[in-house]
Symmetry: C2
């Protein structure tokens, strides 16, 4: 058993991370590649980043020791349905010297598994977009939101950015002086926090500055809202509370009131002790007072645990989780 190694990969839009672990939790190596989401980057490019990350993780490991692997990525179902994509991933796996099989799961399941060992629960993710998913027997079951910026992603980074600009525009419409968050948005988008003598000129300039970029880039303003909320700025604080209410409402669509299974919070806006995570926890404790709320941790380790738990020598997957996955 001490010879057995498992490999986990977390393929994200901005980076791909791999980890190689023994079943006693020894971390033999980690690797990192660029963004590898096959939906946005194409399967060949995703496979290249996968190969880079795998080689890093296996630099000091005999690949023959690796007995199982799991790859978590957004759009997993689409990749599995695409023979060319599957072939590209098979080749990257073989190029790294691996001979064991591997499983592909959605990034939401890997995020879930990085926060809890419970077979049933809910994962709620907020980054650029937002999605909630019910986990049953460690499979993604039902999903809420994830509808994209035009029709959904309520409470996401896109949503926070858009609502921050909308609030600023409403202030300018009423000729109210923008608050601290509004002034920062003006400086970011227009290069100056000053409002024109005719506020409508500033309104028009703001609308043009936003609409000449792809809409999803509004998500880039979310960190400004988060920073302002940390400082207690009232507009930002209200937006964070509203985003939390949207996120919990999305989770409620697939999670009954009073549920006691764990709720795992993931994505850049909810991982760790962020203002949005705090607001979601406060909402969640009202709706699901008996449920533990966890933060997603190391997705690659969560993926490695998903791979390891099906090995015949693993008799206590919950104990194994404690060894393999550093809880956030």
């Amino acid at each position: 058993m001490s010879d057995t190694v498992v490999v986990g990969l977390d393929v994200g839009g901005t980076s791909t991370r791999a980890t190689a672990l023994t079943l006693t939790g020894e971390r033999l190596g980690t690797g990192r590649g660029g963004g590898g989401n096959p939906t946005s980057h194409g399967a060949e490019r995703a496979a290249t980043e996968l190969r880079t990350a795998l080689r890093g993780a296996l630099r000091d490991v005999d690949p023959a020791r690796v007995r199982a692997g799991t790859i978590g990525l957004a759009g997993a179902a689409r990749l599995l349905a695409d023979p060319a994509g599957r072939t590209a991933f098979d080749r990257a796996w073989a190029d790294a010297g691996l001979r064991c099989p591997y499983a592909v799961h959605g990034d939401a399941l890997v995020a879930y598994a990085s926060g809890t060992a419970a077979e049933d629960g809910t994962v709620l993710i907020a980054g650029t977009g937002a999605i909630a998913a019910r986990v049953h027997d460690l499979r993604l079951d039902r999903v809420a939101d994830g509808h994209g910026w035009l029709l959904g992603d309520a409470g996401s980074g896109f949503w926070l950015g858009r609502e921050a600009v909308r609030t600023l525009l409403a202030d300018l419409d009423t000729a109210a002086a923008p608050g601290p968050l509004g002034r920062r948005l003006l400086a970011e988008l227009l290069g100056s926090a000053e409002v024109a003598p005719r506020p409508r000129d500033t309104v028009d300039a703001l609308v043009q500055a936003v609409t000449r970029r792809p809409p999803v880039e509004l998500a880039r303003l979310a960190p400004m809202v988060v920073t302002a909320a940390v400082e207690g700025e009232p507009v930002a604080t209200a937006l964070i509370a509203e985003a939390a209410a949207h996120l919990v409402a999305s989770a409620s669509r697939i999670r009954p009131a009073g549920a006691s299974a764990p709720l795992v919070l993931g994505g850049g806006l909810l991982t760790g002790d962020t203002p949005l995570a705090r607001a979601v926890r406060a909402e969640a404790v009202r709706r699901w007072p008996d449920a533990p709320v966890r933060s997603a941790g190391d997705g690659a380790a969560g993926a490695a645990w998903l791979a390891a738990r099906d090995l015949p020598e693993v008799t206590d997957p919950v104990a194994l989780h404690a060894l393999l996955v550093p809880l956030a």
Copy 2:
């Protein structure tokens, strides 16, 4: 005075309308051209439609009798700032045989003037987009919303279409059976009102059907919401009420509580006795109990009145309004 003719034009995104009136209210001719918004169609194309509409209105009129004219169009300020656009409009005006000067005003002012002769008031417009404007001395003064579909247009046709799809998606997330409006949207967007055995497949198909078209085309779904609301469908009724609240909130940014000046409702969703107009009137009467609420009427006639009222022989512009502008 009986020889004097005035010309009014209402240049919209889907049609351009012209009317020629005597100061006693005799309608000597009307003309119609295609969509002529210079911002979306270009100034040359707009000038061509203007020429077509003008020729129709002046078919039976000696152009030497025309003493004044007004053109109402969206993006008036941009046209006036663009020498090439101004030249194209000058040429169209001269090509129709007109020698008098003309004024260019925003379409919102022309809509306002088609509903009231009061020099001060508010106009609230909801079509594909939504905008509110304060009118002072028959000039557009301050503006609220009109921020476009990505950042604003709250309560507009785009907003109604988007929110109708969002409500349907939320129902599908909870595995609830769609209501009558939801089934109509499914039939319109997917060709069938049936939900797939896995509702998420229907969710994905809906998101794809919407996102492969330009976002603003969500406004095409607004008439389905209006029709459903007329029939008392509960989801549609709630969306109409919410849209009305947004529109009145936009107007409130530029209109003090308790204002008694007229409020004119314009645009395809608010002109006449529409469900949205009724809901806005109900909201407005709560907020501005002393104010008359009017419907915008014939924009070309409103434009003609704006042209006529500055002629030296006009001594009672309010009486002239009653003659020239058929109230809706």
